[in-house]
């Protein structure tokens, strides 16, 4: 019994000591700033989380104050709720998650104000102009899926991995990486209407398992024995259109971005999930043209895609051994073709954005789920915007276009002098996630921007990380961001097992790329681009 009391006594004493120490530490950490000097400029912070619109469900936007000082004070407040106060000796500002979420969810539609004070070497506090951001009424989809890879372009030992990330916190979960099946490549992931339970994932495995596609439908995984390119789901979820491309990797001799991919052959096919067949409509596999980047309209009545004439002689299936002639003159139009899913019938082809008018090349079209917007990239030439610094994102109002017959478009404000692309719409059509090289050179990062009713984009912000300095030394690129409405439920083990298993669905490709003709089989697709 005595021993019991001794232990109890010791525990009580320890608790009291801990409480005293905690109180002391916490109270001494709080500093009363009774006098300060106002600095009439914005405080420098990194990442740049200023003057933007943020979703009410985003993870805390941790940042580093790029002003030299000995102590830092940050006050984050809005109209409602308790302000968040952070005292730090370190310029790294880590915002408590619970308080942050409480504050921003209470203040939808309000301003979020961040006051920053820095104590200089002279012992005086400086107060900078407050950072003012707007909290939107509409949420962003809670998850995003992206691919991480080092910025290179060689079949290699490097890890290529697809991750899903919760946007309301920093939890990143592996969807699949190439070590789960071999050291080959895994390509674009495409979800049907932001649904995490309906996904297609391209696998480029040459060593053991062969090129294939993994189809996820609810909990069921199937392997299709053909590799698909850029994919777009029909909104019904019954079919997916995809491109088959023959690509050639080239290099610029002096340009800052060294890489350039040229599409030497391309066509669009579609896979029907009900009949488990692949078809290549005549209109989308014209021998003399390059058809690529398919994107279904929200109602599924049109397929938007990019196309351009082939300007070099026919290669007869032999891979190019030199830079194709007139490659700089290849500019893609944005076209669309009507489709009747019930009769599986294709209609008239229309050119929506003509390169003759713009003198630019269109790529990566994406329609918003509400059917109002069509976003796309435009570059000075070529089909692949990620390596082209002229690539910017444009927006077209489809609804007003349908009314007036005039499909006008404008460049989004989020564009920079570096490459932007891979845009993905949120399920409520208010947010777009996209890839940009604007802040980190060759290291592509994922950014978000709010699109208002007038089609104006807010200043973009980089996907927040727990460590605000994470991107400064991260040697991986974040590409192909896809916003989804929930977590990907399948495990890497299940996906890996599916890739390793023999294909359960075998399809015949009616036309191959080498020499477009009937009755061919699936062929090796030497993709080289990875961003």
């Amino acid at each position: 019994m005595r021993r019991y009391y001794r232990h109890l006594f010791a525990i009580v004493v320890l608790i009291i000591i801990s409480a005293v120490i905690s109180h002391y530490v916490l109270s001494t950490n709080k500093i009363l700033i009774d006098s300060f000097v106002s600095v009439n400029r914005a405080v420098k912070i990194r990442p740049d989380y200023t003057s933007m619109v943020i979703p009410p469900n985003i993870a805390p936007l941790n940042f580093v104050v790029k002003e030299s000082g000995t102590k830092y004070y940050v006050n984050i407040h809005s109209e409602k709720g308790d302000p968040i106060e952070i005292f730090n000796k370190n310029p790294k500002i880590i915002i408590p998650q619970k308080q942050w979420h409480k504050l921003i969810s209470l203040n939808r539609g309000n301003k979020l104000i961040i006051d920053v004070c820095v104590k200089g070497q002279d012992g005086k506090w400086k107060r900078y102009n407050p950072i003012i951001n707007n909290i939107s009424l509409e949420q962003i989809d809670p998850y995003i899926v992206y691919r991480k890879v080092i910025p290179t372009y060689w079949h290699s030992l490097a890890t290529i991995a697809i991750y899903s990330r919760s946007l309301s916190n920093y939890e990143e979960r592996l969807v699949l990486d190439n070590s789960s099946f071999s050291i080959d490549c895994l390509n674009c992931h495409a979800f049907c209407k932001n649904d995490p339970d309906k996904m297609l994932l391209g696998i480029r495995s040459y060593e053991e398992h062969g090129p294939s596609t993994v189809l996820l439908e609810d909990d069921k995984l199937t392997k299709i024995d053909t590799k698909i390119g850029y994919t777009s789901w029909h909104p019904s979820g019954r079919l997916a259109a995809y491109s088959m491309n023959k690509l050639q990797m080239n290099y610029h001799i002096a340009r800052q971005e060294a890489r350039e991919t040229i599409e030497t052959q391309a066509l669009i096919a579609y896979y029907n999930l009900d009949t488990k067949t692949v078809k290549t409509p005549e209109e989308l596999s014209v021998k003399e043209r390059l058809e690529t980047w398919p994107a279904w309209s929200a109602d599924g009545k049109y397929l938007y895609f990019c196309n351009a004439p082939i300007l070099w002689p026919e290669t007869k299936g032999v891979e190019f051994i030199k830079v194709p002639e007139y490659y700089e003159e290849v500019k893609y139009n944005l076209s669309r073709i009507s489709y009747d899913i019930e009769q599986d019938k294709w209609g008239q082809l229309e050119t929506i954005v003509s390169e003759e008018k713009t003198d630019m090349s269109v790529s990566m079209p994406r329609t918003s789920p509400n059917g109002r917007w069509l976003s796309f990239c435009m570059t000075d030439f070529g089909y692949f915007p990620c390596w082209n610094p002229t690539s910017d994102i444009y927006l077209m109002d489809l609804k007003s276009g349908q009314k007036t017959g005039q499909y006008n478009f404008h460049k989004l404000q989020l564009s920079s002098d570096k490459s932007e692309g891979w845009q993905s719409w949120s399920s409520n059509s208010r947010w777009i996630a996209f890839s940009s090289k604007k802040d980190y050179g060759v290291f592509t990062r994922t950014y978000f921007s709010y699109i208002d009713d007038d089609g104006k984009a807010s200043k973009p912000f980089v996907m927040p990380q727990k460590d605000p300095e994470y991107y400064d030394s991260c040697l991986e690129t974040f590409t192909v961001p896809e916003l989804i409405t929930g977590p990907v439920k399948t495990t890497p083990f299940q996906l890996g097992s599916t890739v390793r298993a023999p294909a359960t669905i075998k399809v015949d490709i009616p036309i191959t790329l080498a020499t477009p003709k009937a009755g061919g089989t699936t062929e090796y697709e030497p993709w080289r681009e990875r961003e």
Partner: protein, 634 residues
């Protein structure tokens, strides 16, 4: 005195002194002779050379798969190669731990006669490093397996809960050392079955060998099944798939197999003894022989220092033999050259090449060194004497396709910066985020004016153990002067970048075409000298003559000797006087040409008979090369 000596060299002390001496010499050998700092810089030449970054983020990534912690520890320890002194201490420590764990296992298995086997591990490490191969991750994984076995032996002697203990040990070890756990469980099975006569436990071990990797590796950590069983073992499939990463050193296989082999043999012996009814003729005969030798054995056992010396002799012989037969000085030279090139120690590069003039990569690097010391136009034929020389010059022919690191170096010097970037990116992809690659990448992006990319590489470099200062130096430069206008190196290389961009397909590029293009556009001394070297090798003196006009523009005081010789050959053949654009042929070169001709004339222009005299007279001249070519073609 005799007694004192006797005490000193009694069994235990004798062994301890031998061990101590062995490991002291082992350490000194690694520190002073192997010179591990050369291995640190050997970008892409070492399998299993891990990278290490400071910080929680880097550590966290190792927690999420079995074997990660071993890899993390090995990554950290491998960085200490940066200082030969510290690297040697790491290897010696590993060798010592291998030795004591082996010793303990041998004792436990009652094979004390085989006690010298404790030196097998260290000697194998010595062989591996003498061959300039490093398998530190595999070594640590193996060591963990052996140490766990020692722990198992110790705690299960008088413990009833062996099954639970084996299970816990297996799970923990598998998490720590991945597939290396299989070695532990195999030895455990033998120990439990044959030594402890616990057959059930032995069978359990077999089940655990399959179950633990499957449950923990495949099901929990989602490993590719092959990886779950083979990670951190010598059977890792990736090492088989990639030629440049294949484990080619048999020592690693022996290192992994010698303990289980001994134990298995012991187990089999144990089994045989149990099966055999009683000691037969063989036993009696052996016993009789032993008894007759008893007197000598007794004398030998008490022979003190003599016994100690005789016992030590085989070890000394094995070590000396290992070093003599396995020391790979040529590979060391490759590593040395990489180190000197990285640190721009050009005279050292030339000095190593003098020792290994037939080593192609040494010759390649020496060309770079000759260029930097202004000697390429003079001493090019001092080294370039094989038919591969043309390919070696710019590493553009097939046999050198894996030399991404070296290719990046040469293209950076000669000018097509995106070629350099391409090869460096491939090196990054193949060999990982090695500090030397990160630094080079940052440098290339700074030249290209892509400060944002450069900063990411530099911030990453900042997180390494020993390159923080270099990274901070460049980061502060970028902060204070974003255009880097004051950094001479950067400005120099920027001036070499082509003013007009164009696209190239790497399989279609003729290297001489690029060089001419570079020369047309820029004052590019490196491109000029390398192009001229190509013309020399191709025996095209007419092209040397055609390009002499560039000398003035490129700031040459005089015509380099080898070009003078080419001009003289050209003049002599065409009977024309070349326009030398206000340069003149050096009298020494004229005299040399005349003397060369006289020797040849003396031999009545017979190439065969004149060979030795001309070789002696001007082996390193273009005159000699032009006449005889490379040895293979003579």
């Amino acid at each position: 005195m005799q007694n004192k000596m006797q005490v000193l060299v009694n069994k235990r002390h004798g062994r301890s002194i031998r061990d101590l001496l062995f490991f002291v010499l082992f350490y000194l050998y690694f520190w002073l002779e192997v010179e591990l700092h050369f291995m640190f810089y050997a970008a892409g030449k070492l399998f299993d050379f891990p990278v290490f970054f400071q910080g929680w983020d880097f550590f966290r990534d190792f927690l999420v798969y079995p074997g990660g912690l071993t890899e993390y520890t090995a990554s950290f320890l491998a960085q200490l190669y940066y200082y030969s002194l510290a690297g040697a201490a790491v290897i010696t420590l590993l060798a010592w731990l291998l030795s004591i764990s082996t010793n303990m296992i041998i004792k436990a298995f009652n094979v004390s006669l085989l006690r010298p086997i404790r030196f097998v591990g260290p000697v194998l490490l010595l062989i591996m490093y003498s061959q300039y191969t490093s398998y530190i991750i595999l070594t640590i994984a193996l060591l963990l397996a052996l140490l766990f076995l020692c722990i198992h032996i110790k705690i299960t002697r008088k413990n009833k809960f062996v099954i639970i203990i084996v299970f816990i040990e297996s799970a923990v070890l598998y998490y720590l050392a991945g597939g290396a756990f299989l070695l532990f469980i195999l030895l455990c099975a033998v120990y439990e079955t044959f030594l402890r006569n616990r057959l059930l436990h032995g069978i359990l071990c077999v089940f655990l060998a399959i179950g633990i990797p499957y449950i923990i590796g495949v099901r929990i950590f989602n490993l590719y099944p092959k990886d779950a069983f083979s990670n951190l073992t010598i059977f890792l499939w990736k090492t088989v798939l990639f030629q440049d990463r294949a484990i080619i050193n048999p020592s690693v296989y022996i290192l992994y197999s010698f303990v289980p082999l001994v134990i298995l043999l012991k187990g089999l012996w144990h089994l045989l003894r149990a099966v055999l009814p009683s000691p037969g003729f063989g036993y009696t005969k052996i016993t009789t022989i032993m008894l007759s030798l008893k007197k000598y054995i007794l004398w030998y056992t008490n022979a003190g220092i003599v016994k100690w010396s005789i016992d030590s002799l085989p070890l000394i012989l094995i070590i000396a033999g290992s070093i003599y037969f396995f020391k790979n000085n040529e590979r060391k030279a490759e590593f040395e050259i990489d180190y000197y090139v990285y640190n721009k120690m050009w005279p050292n590069v030339i000095e190593v090449t003098e020792r290994y003039p037939d080593k192609l990569l040494a010759v390649h690097s020496s060309n770079l060194a000759l260029f930097h010391t202004g000697r390429l136009g003079y001493d090019f034929f001092h080294f370039n004497k094989t038919h591969q020389s043309l390919g070696m010059l710019l590493l553009h022919t097939a046999p050198y396709k894996e030399m991404h690191w070296n290719k990046a170096n040469i293209y950076l010097e000669v000018g097509p910066i995106n070629h350099a970037y391409r090869f460096l990116a491939i090196a990054l992809d193949h060999y990982g985020k090695l500090p030397a690659i990160l630094e080079r990448m940052a440098f290339i992006h700074m030249i290209k004016g892509d400060n944002n990319s450069a900063k990411v590489f530099l911030n990453s470099l900042k997180r390494t153990l020993f390159h923080k200062d270099r990274a901070n130096h460049y980061l502060s430069l970028l902060e204070s002067d974003p255009t880097l206008s004051t950094v001479e190196d950067i400005q120099y290389y920027r001036k070499l970048i082509m003013p007009k961009d164009r696209l190239f397909f790497y399989r279609d590029e003729r290297i001489d075409k690029i060089m001419l293009e570079l020369l047309e556009n820029r004052k590019n001394r490196a491109a000029f000298e390398y192009l001229m070297s190509m013309y020399l090798l191709a025996k095209e003196p007419q092209n040397i003559v055609k390009n002499i006009y560039r000398l003035k523009d490129l700031g040459y005081d005089r015509i380099p000797r080898l070009y003078e010789e080419a001009i003289l050959i050209y003049n002599n053949a065409t009977k024309k006087e070349t326009d030398l654009h206000n340069y003149r042929i050096n009298p020494e070169s004229l005299k040399r040409f005349k003397d060369f001709n006289n020797i040849w004339k003396r031999h009545k222009y017979d190439k065969k008979t004149a060979f030795s005299d001309l070789k002696e007279f001007a082996d390193d001249s273009y005159l000699f090369y032009y006449l005889y070519g490379v040895p293979e073609k003579r």
